[in-house]
């Protein structure tokens, strides 16, 4: 599958943004993190900014972006429509929570309800994003039980690493949050390794034989219907050399998991401001690593239409 940068950035940015929003909503709303105007403003701006930038980026993928509003109508059948509805609906409790927690400096009561609803909306939106990919049967690497949990784990992972950055920068770092961010980063690493292991051993039942209805023997493409690459090959026939795939997997692991985990351990040991610096660096490297991971998620996915072209 062609890794369109607008979609790669969209899923990575909104994942981190919704992860952070969910943590702020739950921990802020229930009073575990005391309301403080600058901390709250920066935190909510970061979360909603990532979400907003991601959603805007996703419209760059559209052929007719001016009609994007129509995508809110088919939530009864379409995961993409559900994603649109959930993402916009989440702004309502998130906005109320922001007003109550940041501007009015309250927690508990209606602020807690708004915070929990914003967190629920964030989780629901990430689920819908994951299901867009997990529901596509022609792409075996996506249509697996690994896809939906991956989106949730990576949202929680990047969100918690960002949450730790906020706490550290404002000098209210928490060892508990550091440990959670570290454990989620290790969980994300493990999940990605398990996913790659599963995909590498995948035995896809759909073959050139079933695609053409020609039973038995071998089916070899000897002539394409066209001389140049068409939409199908540009969009669904994207290929990545195995050697680059292996190298990019290593880069993604180092940037998204290994270095952030090491930096979080350093942050655990060092005093402020070194802990804050290590935390910021961990978040930046992880975001870059997740962009590589998401690029690979597309580039390594093989669509059944490629069978018709002997790929």
């Amino acid at each position: 599958m062609h890794p369109a940068f607008s979609v790669v950035f969209f899923t990575t940015a909104t994942g981190a943004g919704y992860g952070l929003l969910a943590l702020l909503g739950v921990l802020g709303g229930l009073g575990f993190v005391q309301p403080e105007i600058w901390f709250g403003l920066v935190g909510m701006a970061l979360a909603l900014g990532l979400i907003g930038a991601g959603l805007l980026s996703s419209t760059g993928h559209l052929g007719r972006p001016e009609r994007a509003w129509r995508a809110f109508s088919q939530w009864s059948s379409s995961w993409l429509s559900r994603e649109g509805v959930a993402s916009v609906a989440t702004f309502i409790p998130a906005g109320l929570f922001g007003i109550g927690w940041v501007l009015l400096g309250g927690s508990g009561g209606w602020v807690a309800v708004a915070g929990l609803l914003a967190a629920a909306g964030a989780v629901a939106t990430v689920c819908t994003t994951g299901m867009i990919y997990a529901s596509l049967k022609p792409i075996a690497q996506w249509h697996s039980r690994y896809t939906l949990p991956a989106y949730l784990i990576f949202a929680a992972m990047t969100g918690s690493v960002l949450f730790n950055v906020l706490l550290q920068v404002f000098g209210i770092g928490s060892k508990g949050v550091l440990i959670v961010a570290l454990l989620l980063t290790l969980l994300g690493w493990g999940w990605k390794l398990a996913t790659w292991r599963y995909n590498d051993r995948l035995e896809i039942t759909t073959t050139a034989n079933t695609a053409t209805g020609l039973a038995g023997g071998t089916v070899r493409s000897i002539e394409w219907p066209h001389t140049e690459e068409n939409y199908l090959l540009k969009e669904m026939g994207f290929r990545i050399a195995r050697k680059h795939s292996a190298k990019l997997r290593r880069i993604a692991q180092v940037l998204a998991f290994a270095l952030p985990a090491a930096l979080l351990m350093i942050a655990f040991a060092l005093p402020w401001p070194f802990a804050a610096a290590a935390s910021v660096l961990a978040a930046l490297l992880q975001f870059a690593g997740m962009l590589v991971e998401r690029w690979l998620f597309f580039a390594e996915a093989k669509h059944t239409v490629t069978l018709y072209y002997g790929r």
């Binding site: 599958m1 993928h61 559209l62 052929g63 007719r64 972006p65 009609r67 994007a68 129509r70 995508a71 809110f72 109508s73 088919q74 009864s76 059948s77 379409s78 995961w79 993409l80 429509s81 649109g84 867009i132 529901s135 596509l136 049967k137 022609p138 792409i139 039942t205 759909t206 050139a208 079933t210 695609a211 053409t212 209805g213 020609l214 039973a215 038995g216 023997g217 071998t218 089916v219 070899r220 493409s221 000897i222 002539e223 394409w224 219907p225 066209h226 001389t227 140049e228 690459e229 068409n230 939409y231 199908l232 969009e235 669904m236 669509h303 059944t304 239409v305 018709y308 072209y309």
Partner: protein
Amino acid sequence: MTCLPAQTEKKLGLVIDLDTCVGCQACVTACKEWNTGGHMAPLTDIDPYGGNADGVWFNRVHAYEHTTERGGRTVNFPRSCLHCETPACVTVCPTGASYKRASDGIVLVDEDKCIGCKLCSWACPYGARELDTDVGVMKKCTLCVDRIYNDNLAEEDRVPACVAACPTSARHFGDLGDPASAVSQLVTARGGVDLMPELGYKPTNKYLPPRAHTERAAKVDAPALEPIRAEGGFLGWIDRMLSN
């Protein structure tokens, strides 16, 4: 709505005979010719005379070499929308632009609602949908919905353009929901198959596999040519000159 009809009154579709298709591309050009002025018009071409010709086509003919223990053969393979009974291209559509008609089962795109998100083309395992990058919307085979019900055409012409154009009658059009229809009986007689049945899209279009190799083929091991007797005169002179 992009929810699918529980059932359709008819299941209009195509039956494609891989035994008789000669890969002449007549159906491809007839499809392009009709549809670039039809329901989904235009079928935009990008750089048609340059080195990177690209464009929207509803029907593409591939060629394969099918090799079994009985030997090999070339199979020409037309590929177009199969108007599935459970088309995921319709249910994934976020805008309601894609729909399956309850009356005849034809899968269509309302170009005025399409936002060009490409998700339907990802959801189709058969590559039936192609984005018109010039207009920014998705396009696909309409089963020539503007021909088959067209009162302005003679009755025998009310078939999809690809069917009308096929010189070897490898393409048949009809109601596959009616077991008594000519196309249904053809599918039964020839053992028509679904493409990628394991994915569960329940395609309406059926493909008739090439007929089995026959044991009664003509003998072709004729005796080798005999040496020609030397001739005199002009022809003899040519023979001698050529023999040198």
